[in-house]
Amino acid sequence: MVSETDIRAYLEEVSDPEIPVLTITDLGVVQHIYLQDQTWIVELTPTYSGCPAMQQIEVDLLAKLKEKGIPNAKVKHVLSPAWTTDWISEAGRQKLRLYGIAPPVNEPDKTALFSEPPRVSCPKCNSNNTRMVSLFGSTACKAHYQCNACQEPFDYFKCLK
């Protein structure tokens, strides 16, 4: 009989389709896992409301569990409490950096207009001399930055709280 711990370990093998170095457990989207009427239920919290990766994650997750001999698992989407970038694990942050995406840092209050964009260090050369090109980047969760020191353009995983 598989346990919740086994399932959590299997989910370590399911990656985010848009950021393949991150597993869904690194991302912090997996919540409770429990058995209900002989069926394993995995609770997932969406990152951004419209993130198309969430549908793919569900497909990949169910395929992984099937491969591990759990054919009838179900995914339940939970919205509350809402996902925050604080739930990305320390290992996940390290993987993001190595992959070339700057992990989220604490940002100033979003009600402040024209506020200084967050200080983000370049994932290539570690310089703090970077600038925000656009608050909206290649996916809903990222902003577009450029390093003034090494000129590398890079994605910054926006802080969502």
């Binding site: 969406p46 951004y48 409301s49 419209g50 993130c51 198309p52 939970v78 919205l79 509350s80 409490p81 809402a82 996902w83 925050t84 979003k110 009600t111 207009l113 024209f114 090109v133 656009s134 608050l135 909206f136 980047g137 290649s138 996916t139 809903a140 577009h144 926006k158 969502l160 709280k161």
Partner: protein, 251 residues
């Protein structure tokens, strides 16, 4: 009564999100600069995501076995309950950003208030969406200030957009018997409360942008009752085309 009132209320929120998302999506590949092309379509995607959650809730409340796709794609024009503001054509960049600003300044306090709603799923959607909406309002507010307090040309275009769109803003605070029933039950906030917050944001941003609130108080409404402007039919024919041409198609 309350179930159907709540269905109607949630449907209005969903339709506002979907129709505005459709308008913003029209900018895809046409933005004035690449960053804004990406920003507008990102905001569109957030709104579509919010619409999916809201339609799911509406469908559950209705209990007739419809799903979010059926609600989004398979209704007639008079069954959509979005405000007229969100269906207005994109116009120039100033028109799009002013429309967005008026909407974001309304949505943020509304979601903040709905986070306290005893309707659990509605409160959860609001708590999720409020975080995205803060980014949207920051983006649209900064553009309104940049355009209003920018060049003579950008100022004039921003003011023209305000003068045109102002007539549609009062409908954001529309209330009828459905709203009153839900408010009496403590499930949703009074619109007067939201309107006061909206007005405070609008006054402060427009003043910083050196733009003026029009004196003309002529107001349009009808969207909440399913009476739309002539633009809505064209928008829906685009939005619904695939489902109408190839019923039940999926990809």
């Amino acid at each position: 009564m309350q179930e159907s009132a709540l269905f109607e209320y949630v449907l209005r929120l969903s339709d506002d999100s979907l129709i505005l998302a459709q308008r913003l999506g029209e900018w895809c590949g046409h933005g004035p600069i690449l960053e804004e092309d990406i920003a507008l379509t990102n905001i569109s995607l957030d709104l579509i995501g919010q619409a999916i959650s809201l339609y799911d809730l509406a469908a559950a409340l209705e209990g007739k076995g419809r799903d979010h796709d059926q609600l989004a794609y398979l209704r007639y024009e008079n069954e959509y309950k979005n405000v007229l503001l969100v269906e207005q054509p994109n116009g120039d960049f100033a028109m799009t950003l002013l429309r967005q600003f008026f909407f974001d300044a309304f949505r943020l306090p509304l979601y903040e208030a709905l986070m306290q709603s005893p309707v659990e799923q509605l409160a959860a959607i609001a708590a999720k969406s409020v975080k995205e909406t803060r980014y949207h309002l920051k983006h649209s507010s900064e553009w309104v200030i940049r355009m209003g307090d920018g060049t003579e040309e950008s100022h004039q275009r921003a003011q023209a957009a305000i003068d045109h769109l102002w007539r549609y803003t009062n409908e954001l605070f529309y209330e009828d018997a459905h709203d009153h029933a839900l408010q009496a039950a403590g499930k949703v906030p009074a619109m007067a409360e939201i309107q006061a917050k909206w007005m405070a944001t609008v006054t402060s941003i427009l003043s910083e942008a050196t733009l003026e609130i029009p004196k003309n108080n002529w107001k349009f409404d009808g969207g909440r009752e399913g009476r739309h402007s002539e633009h809505m039919g064209y928008l829906l024919s685009d939005l619904q085309y695939m489902q109408r041409a190839y019923p039940n198609m999926e990809w």
